[in-house]
Symmetry: C2
Subunit: 340 residues, 2 copies
């Protein structure tokens, strides 16, 4: 591979997991920025906020009182995007096509400490979050109408997060979301053709090159994928092929916690700010099939580009054409590693 | 179709043009908002700003001086994401796949008047913008290495627009962007199976229902598509099947100008603010084929949801799963029509 070209000239890279492309414009990083600056709030929050509806012991909008929880606390979303008790219907009227979609949405508080984020928590503390994800996943998929579980976190006001208390969400539903469907197809085709895991083989190639690796421990690799879209996008991948997070044992849950801790701490150092992102776990559908082709992984999509206040906008060309990035994955990995 | 269900219960709708879904949660509009508020700037701008690099007669960052233009002015982007003179290369190294991508990026000023937006311009003034799009399109596709031309506008700071002077962009390139590729496939399949235009047949169905139509004149229909993602998303579609904007005659260019004028003026009234959006024209590839299956159209993706300062965030679930909306397309169309 002629790596010089990839650092100098506009090109596109292929995302093996979605089957889609990203446009890379390495020469464009020199562009001056005269656009919108994001508000930066580096104020230290209190460990408890009486107005926060996620803090222990406080009352939520629907009148329920949060328990005095000491580590992780999960509840059903008071304003869930998916309903579980709605009628089943199907619209098939010429070119109008719609289907009812049921599901269960949960909120998971990572810590009772209002002032913290995952970046301030230890591997062992994050291990408890991982245990909670596993427990919820197990419970949700026991419901036969749940065929997919999406675990994610929106961190920071710029990522639409409406409460700074450390928390994530779990939306589970009856059908496969668009992005999961794409990754399902790509992994299945590869598995059928090669009898091995697409992501496993990719990991082997990345570990050999050592060009985009941020960190690894016995169980996990943290890297910037070759096809990263967001400026400092990163992925955490288990070394063993596992279809979903239930296959992780206790020790691996700690290694996973360490990977999350290391990555999020490095993020906070890049621009000396609590780094906003959306993160999410992609894993096998829970449709009753074995889904041997699936290799679960977690991705981080952070929007900041140049500083704590200047983000990358995925707008016009990106919405109508293809996601576009300026700094290359290789430049980004260097900046993240400098912050380890 | 049981429209009551679509207004009451969570469901997904199918986008016939991309083959992907949108999750609709009508019951969720009641959710209180405690998150980020966008800055609103309702200040009237001057008609000329000496610091604006798009105003007539001013000097751009690269030292070039803008002519004293009186209607539309086009120039090559000083910080283009695509280069036209870069080497051609191909990376095919196991699971690393990349290709050089060349292209030409242009900026188009819609008016010399710094204070205006398309919403403040007449149909006849916008017709001149349409003529400029046609002229640029014609010139660009004369270049054999250009196989697709993406015309778009980012309006408003919240949409990453770095200069309020009324302007849009044209990025042209050698390969098909992701979104265009999807629409190409869907339209081609439909055309092969039905020997008619997917969008033409859809238009006929919408015109019969009259549930999502905002406006129509002799040449164009403005509507909220059944599968709209953004709260007030809308689409302008020519009544005749035309593969690209070159097929529009002078009269149709004026009708198109009227459609843009009417829609953008209505947008500004919804929340009594200069309504931000990204808009774009999707049209046939310019790869030398006839592309009879293509029916060009323009879409508007505005982010505002509840007020001038509260937008919809396409984050966690939307990035990892499926785009999600709260108000339905049918509710949105009523609000837009109230502003006509
Ligand atoms: O080209 P501009 O206006 O400088 O930049 C804007 O539009 C581009 C095309 O959608 C995006 O890539 C940028 O992120 C955005 O800030
Ligand atoms: O559920 P929340 O935190 O209220 O809302 C946030 O995350 C959701 C899931 O990604 C998005 O649909 C919302 O637009 C966003 O503001």
């Amino acid at each position: 591979m002629n790596n010089t070209n990839l650092q100098d000239y506009s090109h596109k890279r292929f995302n093996i997991l979605t089957g889609e492309w990203v446009l890379v414009s390495p020469h464009r990083a020199k562009r001056p920025w005269q656009g919108q600056n994001e508000a930066v709030n580096n104020e230290k929050r209190p460990t408890y906020d009486e107005k926060c509806y996620l803090c222990a012991g406080n009352t939520r909008i629907n009148g329920e009182i949060n328990p005095k929880y000491t580590d992780v606390f999960v509840f059903t979303n008071d304003f869930a995007a998916l309903q579980n008790d709605s009628p089943s219907f199907n619209v098939n009227d010429g070119l109008f096509k719609a289907q009812s979609e049921t599901g269960i949405c949960k909120v998971i508080c990572f810590s009772p400490d209002h002032s913290k984020s995952l970046a301030d928590m230890s591997a062992a503390e994050i291990q408890k979050v991982v245990f909670a994800w596993q427990k919820e996943f197990k419970e949700l998929v026991a419901n036969p109408s749940i065929n997919y579980v999406q675990i994610f976190e929106n961190k920071g006001a710029v990522m639409g997060c409406s409460n700074p208390h450390p928390h994530g969400q779990i939306w589970s539903q009856s059908s496969l979301p668009n992005e999961v469907d794409k990754k399902n197809t790509q992994q299945l085709n590869y598995y059928n053709n090669n009898n091995s895991s697409l992501l496993g083989d990719y990991l082997a190639q990345e570990l050999e090159k050592q060009e985009r690796i941020i960190f690894e421990n016995d169980g996990f690799v943290v890297l910037v994928p070759f096809w990263a879209i967001w400026p400092f996008e990163a992925m955490i991948v288990p070394k063993k092929k596992q279809a979903n997070i239930l296959e992780m044992n206790t020790e691996e849950a700690l290694q996973y916690g360490e990977a999350i801790a290391i990555l999020t701490k490095a993020y906070d150092k890049i621009f000396n700010t609590s780094f906003p992102y959306s993160s999410g776990i992609h894993q096998a559908p829970t449709d009753g099939n074995e889904n041997k082709h699936w290799h679960w992984h977690m991705s981080f999509y952070p929007p900041l580009l140049r500083s704590a206040s200047v983000k990358k906008f995925m707008v016009g060309y990106e919405m109508f054409g293809t996601p576009q990035r300026d700094i290359t994955a290789e430049q980004a990995v260097k900046m993240i590693k400098d912050c380890l």
